[in-house]
């Protein structure tokens, strides 16, 4: 077997430019597969991690259909005070936390920037946020209810107002606020850029007196989140219908599980598409291998005849050619995997430095092994037909062959 490897390598070296070009084709294919899979897997992990931070007994209620979520957000549809009350009355609901947000200019040490203000009922929400949404303090203290105090996401002192510290003052709409604390990262750029304050104060300074964009609902223990979600939806929609002279508005209630499965299925579609495109690249590479191997069989017909004359069995000829194709695949796989991983790492680093998005590249041993095996398999598979043709050549005819 070792000898066959030696022969195969010598044959590859003898047509080194062609071999390298074929290898390059595989490198590109494997590079695409490895980098895209690692990035899409990383995306999935990031999203799932965020979802995991939300407790299982917490629901999100927002107006409008889930499929029209963009319209809902951009259109400024809101949950009314009445809606909140309806939710509260549903059996199994322990707590309703309406969440309101608005972009406002904030001034700190002479600099003014637009920040996302997030108003929430401080008192009621505290426990839910800490235990179910993963809020925790990096520095300072929680703000007090009813006071002009703010808590900021961990990106605010990094990106918006460098050096912002608890105990300092910031100004929103000309009013003075005390920065009481800085949160630890919540795992998403949006959450980490937010400025949180008590809902009452939020309403007072923004003038948005009513409503909330969505609400968190905490369920009493012992109740099935899916069933409570169904009841909330029904209760909200029934109330809507009773109200005269108004369009009926739909509501969506997301459970953790549902959100996970929606995100999961979208991500799986992304992964399938990514994989399909990368596979096309590999396929092209495989055709390259097949092409170069067929050419090689034709060029070396005489050599094959010679090897048969001195005692090579069909299977031995087959193996020599398969090894050649396999080596092309394997080297391509090695190069492609290294390049792909480097690329994914580069993207990840860029994402950390650049305040656009959080990104985690998932590079698992499984992915690396997959990259290798896949390319080796593609190599052998593409090499099989040419190798079989070589193995089946009749010795006399092969010896008589002249180029």
């Amino acid at each position: 077997m070792k000898e066959y490897f030696k022969i195969a390598i010598k044959n590859l070296k003898a047509r080194s430019l062609r071999s390298w070009l074929t290898i390059l084709g595989i490198i590109i294919g494997v590079f695409l597969i490895v980098s895209l899979l690692s990035l899409s897997e990383g995306l999935k992990m990031t999203v799932m991690q965020q979802l995991r931070m939300m407790g299982k007994d917490v629901l999100i209620v927002f107006p409008g259909e889930l499929s029209e979520i963009t319209a809902t957000i951009l259109g400024g549809m809101k949950l009314s005070e009445e809606d909140t009350k309806v939710i509260k009355k549903v059996e199994g609901v322990e707590l309703v936390i309406p969440m309101a947000w608005k972009g406002e200019a904030m001034r700190y040490e002479g600099k003014t920037k637009i920040v996302l203000l997030c108003g929430y009922p401080r008192k009621e929400a505290q426990e839910l946020f800490e235990s179910d949404l993963g809020w925790s303090l990096a520095e300072g203290d929680w703000p007090l209810p009813g006071k002009r105090e703010i808590i900021v996401g961990n990106l605010v002192p990094k990106e918006f107002f460098p050096g912002m510290k608890p105990g300092t003052k910031a100004y929103i709409k000309g009013r003075e606020f005390l920065v009481t604390g800085i949160l630890k990262s919540l795992g998403s750029k949006q959450d980490d850029s937010m400025v949180g304050l008590d809902l009452e104060v939020f309403r007072e300074i923004t003038g948005e007196r009513k409503g909330a964009q969505f609400a968190f609902v905490k369920i009493k223990s012992g109740f099935d989140p899916e069933k409570v979600a169904e009841k909330i939806k029904n209760a909200l929609e029934t109330t809507q219908k009773r109200r005269p002279g108004k369009e009926t508005l739909a509501f969506s209630v997301l459970t953790n599980e549902k959100a996970g499965s929606i995100a999961g299925s979208i991500l799986i579609i992304i992964q399938i598409i990514v994989f399909a495109f990368a596979s096309i690249a590999i396929l092209v590479g495989g055709i390259g291998i097949m092409n170069t191997m067929f050419t090689s069989v034709r060029e070396r017909t005489r050599e094959i005849g010679i090897m048969k004359a001195i005692g090579a069995k069909n299977s031995e000829i087959l193996i020599i050619f398969l090894i050649e194709a396999g080596i092309i695949g394997l080297i391509g796989g090695l190069g492609g995997t290294i390049l792909g991983i480097s690329f994914a790492r580069a993207i990840e680093t860029y994402g950390q430095v650049h305040p656009l998005f959080y990104f985690h590249a998932s590079i698992t041993p499984g992915l690396i092994i997959f990259g290798f095996l896949f390319s080796f398999f593609v190599g052998c598979f593409s090499g099989f037909l040419p190798a079989r043709r070589a193995a089946r050549l009749k010795p006399v005819e092969a010896l008589r062959y002249f180029e």
């Binding site: 010598k10 003898a14 090897m307 004359a309 001195i310 005692g311 069909n314 010795p395 010896l399």
Partner: protein, 243 residues
């Protein structure tokens, strides 16, 4: 009676070229005994190379039977034929037919690889064979770096790698100058004298045939007794060198 090494019974070889049938060998009967030195002579196109391919298990007859060591060749599978070629037969071709990417010694080692000879034995034996044909100094050269005569000597060493019973050579001097050709013939003669190896040489050159003990003359795919050609061979043998 001693069983012949090779026995051909009514062997026909017919090639189908489109709609035309080309009969290359006609009802050929031939016996070659163990340890003989046989020349097959005849003009080009007479079918001598085809005969050699059939004797060498590279090709199978269209009709008729061929026995090697009493074994019916036509009943063997491709792999069994490959094994016979590797073990019992050594080939030397007019075109040398060395593998261009391998060095001289790797070329000689290759038949032993196919016969699964243990690795530690291969190199030593290959080196010895190359020394025997006078190429001990050039074992790591590639065919392109060797002269025609040297390449043919590598080919002889390769043919002997598995110590075959039979050495089959097809116009071994056809691509060589007369001096190199003579050297090759001397090596073949020595091989014949040393052991009981059967040597078969295909040639169109009576001078070459004069080295051998027996001459088979082929014309139009049949063995003929051509007195003129025979006389020439015999005369050459008497007057130049004899074995």
């Amino acid at each position: 009676m001693v069983e012949p090494l090779i026995k051909l019974e009514n062997v026909w070889k017919i090639y189908q070229l489109g709609k035309v049938e080309l009969t290359v060998l006609k009802e050929m009967n031939l016996e070659i005994n163990r340890g003989s030195f046989v020349s097959i002579i005849g003009p080009s196109g007479s079918g001598k190379s085809t005969l050699l391919n059939i004797i060498g298990c590279l090709d199978i007859p269209t009709k008729g039977k061929i026995f090697l060591d009493g074994q019916d060749i036509q009943k063997l599978s491709e792999d069994e034929l490959a094994k016979i070629r590797g073990k019992k037969i050594g080939f030397v071709f007019q075109q040398f037919n060395l593998l261009p990417n391998l060095t001289a010694i790797e070329n000689v080692v290759l038949p032993m690889v196919f016969q699964k000879i243990p690795e530690e034995k291969r190199f030593g034996r290959a080196k010895k064979l190359l020394e025997m044909v006078g190429l001990g100094e050039r074992i790591f050269h590639k065919p392109a770096e060797l002269s025609g005569g040297e390449q043919q000597r590598v080919a002889i060493a390769r043919a002997l790698a598995n110590n075959p019973e039979m050495l089959i050579t097809d116009e071994p001097t056809g691509n060589l100058d007369s001096k190199s050709g003579e050297m090759i013939m001397e090596i073949l003669k020595e091989l014949y004298q040393k052991g009981e190896r059967t040597i078969i040489v295909v040639t169109h050159d009576p001078q070459i045939a004069s080295f051998s003990k027996e001459v088979v003359h082929i014309k139009d795919g049949q063995i003929v007794s051509d007195h003129e050609a025979m006389k020439k061979v015999l005369w050459l043998r008497e007057n130049s060198r004899s074995i």
